[in-house]
Symmetry: C2
Subunit: 226 residues, 2 copies
DNA sequence: GTCATCATGTAAGCCGTTACATGATTGC
DNA sequence: GCAATCATGTAACGGCTTACATGATGAC
């Protein structure tokens, strides 16, 4: 779940740990406010697994370093780099990470459903990065989630009716159920948008695949796009 | 958080582990579906701490046991006990637990806010058992939660505006924010009810309450019954 | 020269899960 | 007798948090 967030960010820009946390917090807020205590070990793990690589330890390096290996910096990072009073130093021991090809594969797997987790956070994260998913995989993600919630809602509503809860317990349970219902309605809207978008743009992949294979096959996809 | 749920249930009826899980699942559903792997250790821990005591290991005991020590069983449990084909045996090695005075103290502390947790589940559980709280403590619980959510919502809304997220990420963030806003609105309703109830009943229960509160209040009564 | 912020990391612990082991009772 | 359910427990592990340790850099 953390890996997904990290890889998702690194898919867009090269970053160091501190910045990753910052961006996750301010962009995704409640969805992913992670602590350093889990972030740094996660980065180390990902590096060991070959999913990311440290490209710049811009530390002891003096002013004009020997041909900066990363010329292709996305805007934000470039700003950050030049943010100091003068562009002299790299600020110190940052370890800047870049995602690898292997990492992109991992990312796509996590996004598609490799991770077991079926909780709200996990789904939220996946959806947040859903633009990296093929249209039909995206639809599958939404539909699976919807089915889950519908099932849960059924269980909750069923149980609630029979039992004699007091005001407070009842209120909590009902409000929880309402929230789930809202989630489902939201998903319905998203699904509808996806469907109409799919109809309107059969363009990029083969149209035949979309109609037949797509629905139930999360990994049924060729060539990892990025 | 688990302790709270367990003690809350035991506050009302004497139960064994298996039943506790069952009731938590079917009454509180999403709020507290706990696994045996955490439930049994928790019971053992609570017993060691003196918060609960095992009152009946109704196992090897033959048919008519020596004056059942628990005459005051709430309906449901009594049904369960006689549910077998005949009332002959106690079904075997159940360890039936009863809450102790010390346990009630612990329970009230947990309910009031002793546990650090500020997450939704924890709050939901507390509120579910809020009838055991004094009116002003209940109000405090609601208001604290409300303040928390308001703050969070502020952070999220603030962050969202500035950044350039794609459709999916934006949708997730906005929906999350909406959900929080819904939570706040819900809390507002609850708070209002609490306030008016408090005004109308400075003493114990007043008939006037019935006109405003009654509809949603089956157990509108003071003093911890069990 | 000291304080806030940036930056990386380690260690301990919390709170829960799944999986495993065990066994009694009941229904068929 | 066999499977399903009831019932209790243990072990291993997962994922995250807090707290701690360290240190550079820039602002004033």
């Amino acid at each position: 779940m953390l890996d997904l967030a990290i890889l998702g960010l690194l898919e867009e820009q090269e970053l160091h740990g501190y910045e990753i946390r910052k961006q996750l917090r301010e962009h995704l807020g409640l969805l992913a406010n992670v602590s350093f205590g889990s972030l740094y070990p996660a980065l180390a793990r990902l590096e060991a697994a070959g999913a990311v690589e440290a490209i710049e330890a811009s530390g002891t390096v003096p002013a004009k370093s020997t041909a900066p290996p990363t010329g292709s910096l996305s805007g934000e990072w470039a700003v950050l780099r030049s943010r100091g009073h003068s562009g002299t130093r790299g600020r110190r021991s940052r370890k800047v990470y870049r995602i690898t090809d292997a990492g992109r594969v991992t990312f796509t797997e996590l996004l598609g459903g490799a991770g077991r987790a079926d909780d709200a956070r996990s789904f939220g994260l996946r959806l947040a990065f859903a633009r990296h998913l093929a249209p039909q995989a995206r639809l599958g993600l939404l539909e699976r989630r919807r089915a889950q919630l519908v099932q849960r809602l059924g269980e909750v509503r069923g149980a609630t009716g029979g039992s004699a809860l007091d005001v407070y317990a009842r209120s909590v349970v009902e409000h929880t159920a309402d929230a789930v219902a809202d989630d489902i309605a939201w998903l319905d809207r998203l699904i509808e948008v996806e469907r109409s978008a799919e109809v309107l743009t059969p363009g990029v992949p083969a149209p035949e695949v979309l109609t037949t294979v797509a629905r139930t096959e999360p990994t049924g996809r060729e060539g990892d796009n990025q």
